[in-house]
């Protein structure tokens, strides 16, 4: 038994998860803004920001799907110890974690139901690059327009077209986070 899975969590969980949630909430409320998100040290290949999102939002109540390279024994052990989130397939997950290519196709994930659009998956997308240029964003949370380096604009536009159903995205890169709710129109 290695000690590694036991390490890398928040040192002070209550206050650090409060700060981490504030960063994620502001990212989700204001699409196109990038926020600092540090404090977690998950095993490779996870970024510190993705680790912090998992520690802040996932627990035994949320099914988690690990896509592609993120699905390693070390990552599984770290998630099991720190969050207790059950690992599931994409069809019934509350959260999914991976890079954009590994998460395709998006129609595998639950988009919610017309009565309960909140019962949809949130995708945590690991990005090699995250900056405020690229696709033009408009919609709730954005004063005029914003810009964000997005993968797969077409798939995201299709996701928006299903509003109020759809997936929500949290983009993580190093120790930074941005988000894109289904309400945002992408051009």
């Amino acid at each position: 038994m290695q000690a590694q899975p036991l390490e890398g969590g928040f040192a002070t969980p209550a206050t650090q998860s409060a700060q981490a949630f504030r960063a994620v909430m502001q990212a989700m409320a204001m699409p196109g803004t990038i926020h600092a998100l540090a404090g977690a040290r998950p095993p490779a290949p996870l970024s510190p920001a993705a680790g912090a999102v998992l520690l802040t939002l996932c627990d035994a109540d949320t099914g988690l799907y690990l896509a592609g390279d993120c699905d390693t024994p070390e990552v599984r052990a770290w998630i099991a110890f720190h969050t207790g989130a059950p690992l599931t397939g994409p069809e019934c997950c509350a959260f999914a974690l991976g890079d954009w290519a590994a998460l395709q196709p998006l129609h595998r994930f639950p988009p919610g139901t017309p009565e309960y659009p909140d019962r949809s998956a949130t995708l945590i997308v690991e990005r090699a690059r995250l900056d405020t240029e690229g696709a033009i964003l408009t919609g709730p949370g954005i004063r005029d327009s914003a810009a964000l380096s997005l993968p797969g604009v077409d798939a995201i536009a299709i996701n928006h077209a299903r509003f109020p159903l759809g997936l929500d995205f949290i983009f993580t890169c190093g120790d930074r986070v941005a988000a894109l709710p289904r309400s945002t129109e992408v051009a």
Binding site: A18, M28, P117, G141
Partner: protein, 288 residues
């Protein structure tokens, strides 16, 4: 404060509320069910707002609580002390200095700014509830965007009273999709919800619902072309600070019919008086 977990609630409860808040922000105006907890105060005293505040507060925040605009009423004082004790956060009565503001039934007069968070206490989150008591039906009506019944209710107001008589909890439509109850704020405050720079979060503890408005979200009060929405207030200036553009409370001053109108937002009124503004009934002493 070390006897409590930060901000009172346990971590699993906060994660559940935080997940609901993110979905609420992603679908503005839609009511997300959440597993509301027992709080050390009765339902009706802001348990929904308190749970939302507990989930968003960080140690660096400066917290303000208002009850009908006032910082010094029982509900506001007790909730402010609750978070001073359980979260150790700094508190203030100044709207401009607060990063998180919990409110019961008012929006501050002073325009909110980027980064501020306004948390509403909500008694009945479902705007269609008094028209259709069944949750299964109202949920389907939201799913089908079937809001004809709400317009019939407003029309009946007009046919009975000659105008739309709804004065508070006036229904709004968010981004052209969901009809939402703005909580029992006076309809005077409705226009402040639209295009606000602040994040607006709504918590209903007894009814177990959370909903939200991201900044710069379009919020339209329902009306008719020939009976447009009007943000009304008492037709007086404030007796203490002389403001003519603020929402007023009517205060009975004696048992011989004496009364005065004063700003409902105490911080707004005090700031104006400190700046030298005076109303007709301001005797120079602090009336409070």
């Amino acid at each position: 404060m070390s006897d409590y977990n930060f901000a009172y609630l346990d971590e699993q409860t906060k994660r559940m509320i935080r997940r609901a808040l993110l979905k609420a922000l992603a679908v503005p105006g839609y009511q997300v069910p959440f597993a509301s907890r027992e709080m050390p105060m009765p339902y009706g005293w802001g348990t929904g707002g308190v749970q939302v505040s507990a989930a968003v507060l960080t140690p660096a925040d400066r917290f303000k609580v208002i009850d009908q605009g006032a910082d010094d009423t029982t509900n506001a004082v007790s909730i402010r002390r609750f978070f001073e004790r359980t979260a150790g956060v700094a508190t203030t009565t100044r709207t401009a200095e607060a990063s998180v503001i919990q409110t019961r039934h008012r929006i501050p007069e002073e325009a909110l700014t980027d980064g501020q968070i306004l948390v509403y206490q909500v008694p009945i989150p479902e705007p269609l509830r008094f028209l259709e008591p069944r949750e299964t039906e109202t949920r389907r009506m939201h799913a089908l965007e079937d809001y004809g019944l709400m317009h019939v209710k407003l029309y009946e107001d007009i046919s009975r009273h000659g105008h739309i008589a709804t004065a508070y909890a006036y229904p709004v439509k968010v981004e052209g999709r969901y009809v939402m109850d703005p909580s029992p704020i006076p309809k005077f405050d409705n226009p402040k919800m639209s295009d606000s720079a602040a994040i607006q979060l709504f918590g209903a503890g007894r009814e177990q619902r959370i909903y939200a408005l991201p900044p710069y979200t379009q919020v339209v009060s329902l009306d008719f072309e020939d009976h447009p929405f009007e943000a009304s207030k008492a037709d007086h200036p404030c007796g203490l600070c002389g403001a003519e553009d603020s929402y007023l409370d009517e205060v009975i001053t004696d048992d011989a019919g004496g009364r005065m109108f004063v700003c409902s937002d105490t911080d707004f009124c005090e700031t104006r008086r400190a700046a030298g503004h005076a109303g007709a009934m301001n005797t120079g002493k602090d009336a409070a």
